[in-house]
């Protein structure tokens, strides 16, 4: 049978100074009284007795010592629980000093302090938190249910629905420690080089295997080559032994070959054979032509030398001819130089002649200009005489002019005197002679004086002539230097003309020499070109004849050598092959040395890496195991979230049903008639969703969010409905429900309705204690409930 509270004794606790004993009804008790009458203190006393502290002390709103009444040294609370196998007395004493004592008595057994606590916990199966949210619930807790944040609401409802364990499990399985360890392992892995180190190690191992494989292959090849060399060497030595027997022959053959090579044997081998008699005739012709050419160009001595050579001795003829032709070429070079000198002289002379001609043209031009002056001079001389005559004429005319001028003066003076005498005669009838002083009375007696104008005219004509002659004289004087210049130019023209004629004659001679020399040079070149071609041909004939002769000798020698059993080709082939094999062996040995060094180096590196790689592998295994565990843990955690949601959904369906029934009875405004608790599904990142309260609106039958539509009082009723439903859904072994004025902000009728519901509709085994400030509730419930007046109890 479940436990219930039979009696509470309080002394020195909070408001209760003196001892108070409260006997509670078996089913329903109403504790009523005005504010401060001690209703809540009774509930806290019960809390203190059962848990050693109250919710205010646990949440540090109050010190534990403050539970002791101000006028007492200690507080004592005793609770008698009934049910189960018998009564249990729980007595707790708290001294002002803070020391406390617990005594639990069950039948004949008494338990103290820690053992008592343990015994009490096992009986109640409750924590203080459970007690505050499920057993002794005040309006603050109910308010928290509907007013708190979603997270607090989740926690509270999970607690009330018995899902707190999942929350704890989820919290404990956060995997933080594991994640930290995993990170540390990965950091360490990264420090060691991680995949790159393993990659490097594997790469090095592969390289090592490659080097070893290559080295083995090389060693095998080397072995084969060594065997081959031994064989070749044996054969070579045998052939070399025979070669000593034919040393002289071989040496001679070598010389012959060298000779053939010097002749250009490869080219000659491709040429056809040549007739010896034809070559001899050709040589004779060549010799004759060469000697003739040499003589033509005044090289008689060389021509004689050529003629003396026997044409059948081609080598001698070619040698003498080459020397003579070289001399001929030298002669031609000298001719070319000579021709160039003449041509240069011609150019120089032409330039000089050009200069002379230019100068001549200039002088001709000047003479042309001066010829006019000479004509003018000649005309003046013809007309006025030479300059000396002109000068004489001028002197004469000047004398004449002066005489005329004097005569004219004399006449003018005479006329003036005569005029004066005539005037005197006219005036006085007599006049005094101005010359002799005699008296003159008759005008007719006066001598005749000619008028001076005739003399003046004559003088003026003479003066004009004089002026003209002076102008002529001036012109003549001016023209005289030009005439002298003209003479100079004419003299220069004459000398230039003479020089020009001489140079032109000289130029003609030079040109004739140059033409002759050019003709000779052309002839020499033509002849030399022909001779050179003939020489080349003769030389080719000579080489071909010589080649045929040498080849014949070589064959004879080869035959002789072969008769001695010596195969030179084979020896050469062996030499070449041996050389190749030895070269290859040398290369392979060098490569082998290199590979062995590389192998040693890689082996060293591998050995150095080995420890780090082993450590890395070990770490990697650990990391994999830890990562696996972490991954599984996260999977479990995710599954817990889903399970949590599923369990919530399952429980809230029943909860909604029960709460709806209760709410319908309490909600007196008839605005809403049903309650629905929903669980939102899990959100992203493992969020577990939260509880949502909705109520059905009677008006249209739709469900609306409860917390945003309802009044405070309605929300209080909703919270109470939920709490009562939860208590029915999840029975406790401690079958007590204390509601400490749970919905204070509703009208009296509603409070009465709440009380009646608690009295009549709660499960049979549940003991309900209800505190209220309303006397009406107490009066209306008096027939069915045990009533306790709190104020009286306090006093």
């Amino acid at each position: 049978m479940a436990l219930r509270i039979k009696r509470i004794e309080v002394e020195g606790f909070r408001a209760f100074r003196s001892k108070l004993t409260v006997e509670l009804g078996e089913r329903f008790t109403v504790i009523y009284g005005p504010p401060g009458s001690g209703k809540t203190s009774i509930v806290r006393a019960l809390e203190f007795a059962l848990f050693g502290e109250t919710r205010e002390v646990a949440s540090r709103l109050m010190r534990r010592e403050d539970l002791v009444n101000d006028f007492c040294d200690k507080a004592r609370v005793a609770v008698v629980l009934a049910g189960g196998e018998g009564e249990i007395l729980v007595e707790r004493v708290l001294a002002r000093s803070g020391a406390s004592r617990l005594r639990v008595v069950e039948g004949s057994n008494e338990f103290y302090d820690e053992i008592g606590e343990h015994h009490l916990r096992s009986k109640l199966a409750l924590t203080l938190d459970d007690f505050a949210w499920e057993i002794a619930v005040g309006h603050q807790e109910l308010q928290a249910l509907v007013h708190s944040s979603p997270s607090v609401r989740n926690r509270v409802l999970d607690e009330l629905l018995g899902l707190a364990d999942i929350r704890k499990l989820y919290r404990e399985l956060s995997g933080k420690e594991l994640k930290g360890y995993l990170k540390a392992l990965r950091d360490e892995l990264a420090k060691l080089g991680g995949e790159s180190l393993l990659g490097k190690y594997e790469e090095l191992k592969a390289k090592y295997r490659g080097v070893v494989s290559e080295r083995d292959a090389l060693a095998r090849e080397l072995e084969k080559l060594e065997a081959r060399r031994r064989l070749l060497l044996e054969e070579y030595e045998a052939l070399r032994a025979r070669a000593t027997e034919v040393d002289q022959l071989v040496e001679e053959r070598g010389k012959l070959r060298a000779l053939l090579e010097s002749l250009g044997d490869e080219k000659l081998a491709k040429m056809p054979a040549v007739d010896e008699s034809y070559v001899r005739e050709y040589a004779e012709r060549f010799k004759g032509e060469l000697a003739e050419t040499l003589e033509l160009f005044y090289m008689g001595e060389e021509a004689e030398g050529v003629r003396r050579v026997d044409a059948s001795n081609l080598a001698s003829l070619l040698e003498v001819s080459r020397s003579a032709m070289d001399k001929m070429r030298s002669y031609m070079v000298r001719m070319e130089y000579e021709l160039k000198d003449i041509q240069n002289e011609i150019r120089r002379l032409e330039d000089y002649i050009n200069d002379l001609e230019d100068e001549m043209a200039e002088i001709e031009a000047r003479i042309g200009e001066l010829e006019h002056s000479r004509s003018e001079y000649d005309a003046l001389v013809t007309r006025h005489g030479d300059p000396v005559s002109v000068a004489k004429k001028i002197a004469q005319l000047e004398v004449d002019a002066k005489a005329l001028q004097a005569e004219e003066g004399r006449l003018r003076c005479a006329r003036e005197l005569q005029e004066d005498v005539l005037r005197q005669l006219r005036e006085r009838g007599t006049a005094t002679c101005p010359v002799c002083g005699s008296s003159i009375t008759d005008a007719a007696a006066l001598p005749r004086v000619e008028p001076p104008e005739a003399l003046k005219l004559k003088r003026e004509r003479i003066e004009r002539m004089l002026q003209d002659l002076r102008e002529v004289e001036r012109k003549l004087r001016k023209l005289e230097p030009e005439l002298r210049l003209l003479d100079d130019y004419e003299s220069r023209r004459e000398s230039l003309s003479k020089a020009l004629d001489e140079r032109l004659e000289e130029l003609q001679e030079l040109r004739a020499s140059a033409e002759e020399l050019e003709e000779r040079l052309r002839e020499a070149r033509r002849r030399m070109a022909e001779l050179a071609r003939a020489y080349e041909q003769l030389d080719s004939y000579y080489k071909r004849l010589r080649y045929a002769e040498l080849q014949e000798k070589l064959k004879e020698l080869e035959e002789e050598i072969r008769r001695h059993g010596y195969d030179e080709n084979r020896l050469n082939q062996l030499t070449r092959e041996l050389k190749e094999v030895e070269n290859r062996i040398s290369v392979l040995k060098a490569k082998l040395d290199m590979l062995e060094a590389s192998e040693r180096q890689i082996a060293g590196e591998l050995s150095a890496l080995e420890a780090a790689v082993n450590s890395l592998k070990d770490l990697k295994k650990r990391e994999e195991r830890v990562a696996g565990l972490y991954s599984n843990l996260m999977a479990v955690r995710s599954a817990l979230v889903e399970a949590h949601v599923k369990l919530r959904q399952k429980l809230v369906e029943r909860l909604s049903e029960i709460a709806s029934g209760i709410f319908a009875e309490l909600e007196r405004s008839s605005e809403y008639d049903a309650v629905e608790v929903q669980v939102q599904s899990a959100g992203p990142r493992g969020r577990r969703g939260h509880y949502v309260f909705r109520v059905r609106r009677k008006l249209d039958g739709s469900y609306v969010p409860a917390l945003t539509r309802m009044s405070d009082g309605q929300r209080g009723l909703l919270a109470l409905s939920l709490l009562l439903a939860l208590r029915q859904l999840k029975p406790r072994s401690f079958a007590v429900l204390i509601l400490d004025d749970p919905v204070p902000n509703v009208d009296e009728d509603t409070k009465v309705a709440i009380a009646k519901l608690l009295a009549e509709k709660m499960p049979a085994g549940l003991q309900v204690i209800f505190t209220t400030q309303s006397r009406r509730v107490a009066e209306e419930l008096s027939p069915t409930a045990k009533l306790i007046a709190a104020g009286a109890a306090k006093s």
Binding site: A125, G162, D165, I166, K168, L169, E172, L173, E177, L178, Y181, A184, R622, R625, V626, G628, L629, S631, N632, L633, A635, V636, A639, L640, E642, A643, K646, L647, K730, R732, S733
Partner: protein, 67 residues
């Protein structure tokens, strides 16, 4: 919560986890082991079990973890 009710709750939770983790037998095995530890020894038991699992995975004792 009464012991029987608690056991029933754990059984129900375990059934749900079995359903949810049926594709991941290793995680299910882990869930069973952890739930058993929690059911028998509470939070302390769960922590001990977690530590044991970590040691098992790392192949080292608790000293490593402290490191």
């Amino acid at each position: 919560m009464a012991v029987s009710a608690r056991n029933a709750f754990f059984e129900e939770l375990l059934d749900l986890l079995r359903e949810l983790l049926k594709g991941n037998p290793e995680a299910l095995k882990l869930a069973e082991r952890l739930l058993q530890a929690y059911g028998e020894r509470g939070v302390r038991g769960l922590r001990e079990e977690l530590r044991a699992l970590t040691e098992e995975a790392t192949g080292h004792g608790s000293k490593d973890q402290e490191d």
